[in-house]
Symmetry: C2
Subunit: 173 residues, 2 copies
């Protein structure tokens, strides 16, 4: 029987994490947006005095000696701040490779994120899901998530560096 271990990521995992980041972006049909490199991910998570994110991975211990991937899932999160409730956690990605789904690995990893979130005294755990991704929506809703976009009407906006440069140039204040 296969043994899977959920553990904190290490610097040496970054190559496989980037491979899975690309797989997830492809599933989300947004892979043209992926610009991250192994070097940047390693620096930001493992070589900064204040790492920019926390990452968990699922290791496939059975396949250590065999062919196939060593890591089959990851969950990457970071601290955010709510002016209403204080320190919070945001789950950027939770991914299990398709061929390793249906064994409860997503649940185990998400429970580990929940535990981490509670241990650090976070007031909330938030995340974003694409509206057509019904399996992700069911996964989170069955665990108690509220859909704030539907219930309160929150919409997400993004500025790119070119927008910011224009604003800086126009600032006469």
């Amino acid at each position: 029987m296969a043994a899977f271990r959920v553990r904190a990521a290490e610097a040496g995992d970054c190559e496989e994490i980037v491979r899975m980041i690309r797989e997830l972006a492809e599933y989300e049909k947004l892979s043209d947006q992926v610009k991250i490199t192994v070097e940047v991910l390693r620096r930001d998570g493992f070589e900064e005095s204040s790492p920019l994110y926390k990452c968990l991975v699922v290791e496939n211990e059975e396949e250590k000696q065999a062919a196939g991937p060593r890591l089959v899932g990851y969950a990457l999160s970071f601290f955010t701040y709510s002016t209403w409730e204080g320190r919070s956690l945001y789950l950027e990605d939770l991914y299990i490779m398709p061929e390793y789904r249906g064994r409860g690995l997503g649940s185990r990893m998400f429970a580990a994120v929940a535990e981490f979130c509670l241990a650090l005294g976070c007031a909330r755990l938030q995340l974003s899901v694409l509206d057509w991704n019904q399996s992700a929506i069911s996964f989170y809703r069955s665990r108690g998530a509220r859909d704030l976009s539907q219930e309160e009407g929150w919409r997400l906006f993004r500025f790119l560096p070119e927008d910011l440069r224009r604003m800086k140039a126009n600032n006469t204040g």
Copy 2:
């Protein structure tokens, strides 16, 4: 003529910032969710080795000697992390008191946030707006923001500590 200065917040500003956080939440009709205290805001922003947020304020220099508020606006942001593009900035709140609007203070403060974001090498600036808040939506759209909820279908989900405790309790992994 009134002189207004946009500057980094200091620990001594937290009482007025919390006053404005409440004003903004009231405008957003969600003030029952505000639990932050002056002590928590001060600790998280000014007494931690890695502060959890950055805050700018607008100071009304004319009224220093007179009645009326010393601070008339604030912008609070924090770092986030994109697995596609790396270090990013999230603008949690941008607020100008209603009686001080129409003088370009929001633009000046937002330009200062943009400058800060660029200086720190962030790949994106993101924020959330309530769908009925047309004046905020126009403000951001006229500066180039893309509405990711509409264009890509992102929806925001939230878990509260009671959800997380249930998951932790059920985790047998």
